[in-house]
Amino acid sequence: MSDGSIIETDAANRPAPGTTVVGVRNVCVDVAGRSVLRDITFDVPAGQFVGLVGPNGAGKTTLLKTILGLIEPKFGHIELFGSSGPRRGREAHSVGYVPQRHAIDRNFPATVRDVVMMGRLCCLGPIGRPRRADWKQVDDMLDTVGIADLRARNIGQLSGGEQRRAMLAQALCASTRLLVLDEPTIGLDLPAEHDFYSLLRQLQADLGLTIVAVSHDLVALAGEADALICINGHMHIHGNPDDVVHSHAIREAYSCEFNFLAGELALHEGGGDHDH
């Protein structure tokens, strides 16, 4: 791990503590004519790690994509860093995105360095050729996420956990202030999941990042996040993880009882369809 001096996201670039980084205002989203999100409203303050949870089909990924500007809300709007207009070029990359990913084509013809450099395209000149400083930024970020030794390997040859770290480096190697992750630990074993969350917490502290992470794993996220938001088509509860996991609202959202001491949940009724 390297020190924070190499990171562009320096103190001057950080939003002041307490200011709202993500403002979701009465957002309603339809997908293929079906209402997926209804009247979602919440704020994410600067520097906070927020976990977005809910059962399958709750609309977690849809909400994440709406925050990223990939889906237009039917009603309501999203404010990022106090502005609701479209973000362009370098400004667009103030938000880093680590998508849910099943597998990268093992023959994709690019090295880890090349893939991470994709995250810096907004910072390159009109000819699009990386300069020495850009490569240094990429190498430093690979060092920060702990896969500097894999930089020359092809991206498809890395393990799932290593690929997740490469995507994290890609998401962070521009002037990133908000990090959005969709199921970042899916497919990872428990130690790898713990390591990944530890890395996120360290990046949050070192870079002053605001983090919004979606996970189906309520138990794991409750142990890591500063706040939890539970949705199931509409808002169920938003608060500190301890209050949320012991609330009636979360049992209602999941239609089940949780036994956190045993790390188990008992289904009362209903399952859920595919996530959106």
Partner: protein, 263 residues
């Protein structure tokens, strides 16, 4: 064979077209656009027929028509709730049908039609060679300038979009480059076989190396080498140059599969 001026021009055209097709072919393979390539190249027949009927240089009308089809595929693909294959199939068959109907209105064009379908590189003029070189340079320069952006879109289109990259513009640009390259290659191998030069050298290169830089260079080199080998074979065996060039590329591909097969 190089004592003839027409053979010198043909050889230069084969090297140029092979290199341009090989360079663009890298993205055709990476983005799995082979069927779009077939659709755009075959649709050029409609443009050739319009040119012959109106007395305009068929390569100009074919170029305009192929670019229109490429952009049409891009627009309909984005707007219609249909599979990409279906949209391409509609454009592809519709353009070919238009070409066949127009050709049938004047039987005197059938000899010309044969040249556009299967290529007629030995009839290439010096002016055409210069135009071909200019257009080829534009295609290669565009790819070099947009290389990392296009690679990003191939890696993850959604993330590229989230980061504000001009994804729709670059996707349309790629299809326009295919249309321009088809027109560049019509004289060498014809509308029906140009797709082979877009796909086969790039697929062969992907068997030998897994880095985008070396794949592009190798693909361009193999495209040129197949052009030269095919043209030489056509000269010595007195066979059709277009078919000979494509066969050279296909033989090289299967040889590579035997040696390098990924299993």
């Amino acid at each position: 064979m190089l004592e003839f001026a027409f053979m010198q021009r043909a050889l230069l055209a084969a090297i140029l077209v092979g290199a341009v097709c090989g360079t663009l072919g890298f993205f055709i393979i990476l983005r799995r656009l082979a069927f779009i390539g077939v659709g755009i190249s075959h649709s050029a027949i409609g443009g050739v027929a319009i040119g012959l009927l109106l007395g305009i240089d068929p390569l100009i009308t074919a170029g305009i028509f192929a670019i229109a089809v490429a952009l049409g595929i891009a627009v309909v693909r984005k707007r219609a709730d249909l599979s990409e294959d279906a949209v391409i199939g509609v454009f592809f068959s519709g353009s070919m049908a238009l070409g066949i109907v127009l050709f049938s209105m004047n039987h005197g064009y059938q000899q010309d039609l044969f040249g556009y379908l299967f290529g007629n590189v030995l009839a290439l003029s010096t002016t055409e060679l210069w135009l071909l070189a200019g257009a080829g340079l534009v295609v290669v320069a565009t790819i070099v300038l947009a290389l990392r952006e296009m690679l990003f879109i191939a890696f993850d289109e959604e993330v590229a979009r989230a980061y504000g990259r001009p994804v729709d513009l670059l996707n349309s640009l790629l299809l326009v480059l295919v249309a321009v390259t088809v027109i560049i290659g019509v004289r060498l191998v014809g509308v029906l076989l140009i797709e082979a030069l877009l796909v086969v050298p790039a697929a062969t290169a992907a068997l030998w190396t897994n880095n985008f830089r070396s794949q592009i260079v190798l693909s361009a080199g193999l495209g040129s080498a197949c052009g030269v080998a095919g043209l030489a074979g056509a000269y010595w065996l007195d066979i059709a140059a277009g078919g000979s060039i494509v066969l050279a590329a296909v033989i090289l591909f299967f040889s590579s599969v035997l040696i390098r097969g990924r299993g």
